[in-house]
Structures are given as structure tokens and as C-alpha cells.
Amino acid sequence: VTSFLTLLVGALIVAAGLVTVTRRNPIHAALSMLVALGGIGLLFLGLRSPFLAAMQVLLYGGAIMVLFTFVIMLLTLHDDEMGPEPPANVKMLGAAGSFGVLAIVWHALSTRGGGTHFRMPHVPWGPAEAYGTAEHFARFLYTDYVVAFELVTVLVMAGVAGVIALARRPGSETLEGTKLAGHAEPEPAPHAAPEVHP
């Protein structure tokens, strides 16, 4: 991928990212984040990783962003439920922190390889089917990295269990009539205060 095209798409990505972190309305933030994620998928394509580009669109652009928009629409936040905007000095502090990290990463990238005569290695491209395709992934994912793959499945199962535990209504100790082990202690009623919203 040429540098110019990368920087063009990169500028779009960073601009969409900035819009994401500065909008007050969460749905605007989610939609501009979708633009950023799609741009990253484009860069993946340019880096000869078509399988990862497809996964980026399917997983991030599809699953994760749909989850975000679903939760935003489920909550239908009013303005007073999002809290006040942080004061300007907090924003300045955040900007300073992010610029600090950017400077550190920049320095690390600029001086890598011991800081001496670093140059971008010339990448001799093999045939496209030998790199970054689904076949390529399958070969390595189910041989060299099969342990990591299985560990990720365990993690996803743990995530499912965690989501179910979190999604229980407060106070309800049963799930379809069965007592959940380890959750016998009744939770305190969280809605003791009168409800403000209908």
C-alpha cells in the first residue's frame, strides 16, 4: 500500500476517532466509530490481509457496533442521565496524557532497530494466496496456535457466563426456576430511592 493512500485513509480514521470521543450524543459517536472501523478494514486490505479485513467488518462493524447501538437504543439516555461534561482542565489533562503517550510511541517507532540506520525493509510479496488469506489462517490457527484458539473459546464462554450473571434482575435469585449456586445471598434492593423517571 502506498504511503499517501495510507495517510489519506489514516486521516479519515483519526478524524472519525476524534469525532467519536468528542460527541455528546452516543449514537453519533457510535456511527462515526463505524467509519473509523471501516477505514481500518480498508488499511487491512491494503496490508494484504483480506481475512482480517473481513473479520474487521464482520466482528467490529457488525457484531460489536450493533451491540453498541442496541444498548444505546435500549437505554434511550436523557441529557441528565449522561452526567455533566467534564471541566476544561480535565480535557486538557486528557489531551496532555494522550500527547505524552503519542510522543513515547513516536520515539520508540523512530528509533527502533537500535536507532541506527533504520529503514523500512523491502517486502518481497509472495503470491497473494500465501499470506493473510483464510486458508493461510486456517493452517496456522489449527496447528501452531490451536492452544490459543481453545483458550479464546474458554474466554468467550466465561464472557457468556459473566453477561448472564450481570443481566440478572437485581433481587431475582432464580433463572428459570432453578437456584443459582453461589448466589444464595440476597442482594440489597437497589431501587430504594424513588424513581425519577417514568
Binding site: S3, L7, V9, G10, I13, V14, G17, T20, V21, A29, M33, A36, I40, L43, L47, R48, S49, F51, M55, Q56, L59, Y60, I64, L67, F68, V71, I72, L75, L77, D80, E81, M82, G83, P84, E85, V90, G94, S98, V101, L102, W106, T111, G115, F118, P121, V123, W125, Y131, G132, F137, F140, D144, V152, L155, V156, A158, V163, L166, P170, P190
Partner: protein
């Protein structure tokens, strides 16, 4: 001699995206936006890994490690977002707000 060179364009974009995510995490109080910022940081890291994998495409094993790691990071991110968003819903049920600094948010516990 300490010769400074310009980083690769992909790595510049990745670092900038990571910095934007850090700004969001540090300066926003809406938990939904904070989660999105974390996702932006993750995407910056993924982009960096894919860029380095491309640099080392001629080395057997190195490029695959980078690409498989990105795939794993995506799977972990999906699980993380599912748990994170249910925490957002739990916080909203509990505190009637998604403000991470709201006084009732401090009472949220297991």
C-alpha cells in the same frame, strides 16, 4: 550516530488512533464513550500488529504470529464489549445514569 527516521505511515496512523482513544478514556465521563475509546485503542494496536506483520511477511512464522494475534485480540474484544455493555446496563439500572463519576456509581458492586 543516532539517526532518527520517520515511522511507517501505518504505524503513525496506529499511534494516532491509540492516542485518540487515550484522550477519550481520560477526558470523558459517559461510560459508553469510554468503552468506545477503549475499542479505538484496541484497533490502533491491531493496526500496528498487522503493519509489523506485513513488514516481516518474508519471514516464515513472524507474520503469522502477528496476524493470529490480531484475530485473537478481535475475539477477546468481542467478549470484552459484551461484558462491558452489560456493566453499562447494570450501572444504568443501579444509578439511573451512565456517568462514571455519578455518586451512585460508586455503590455498584458485584
Amino acid at each position: 550516530v543516532n539517526e532518527i527516521t520517520t515511522p511507517d505511515a501505518v504505524q503513525m496512523v496506529a499511534a494516532a488512533l491509540f492516542a485518540v482513544g487515550i484522550f477519550g478514556v481520560l477526558s470523558r465521563r459517559n461510560l459508553l464513550i469510554v468503552l468506545m475509546s477503549v475499542e479505538l485503542m484496541l484497533n490502533g494496536a491491531n493496526l500496528s500488529l498487522v503493519g509489523f506483520a506485513r513488514e516481516r511477511a518474508h519471514e516464515v512464522g513472524a507474520a503469522d504470529a502477528g496476524q493470529v494475534m490480531v484475530l485473537m485480540a478481535m475475539a477477546v474484544a468481542a467478549a470484552e464489549v459484551a461484558v462491558g455493555l452489560s456493566i453499562v446496563i447494570a450501572l444504568f439500572r443501579h444509578a439511573r445514569s451512565v456517568d462514571v463519576d455519578s455518586p451512585r456509581a460508586a455503590l455498584l458492586r458485584g
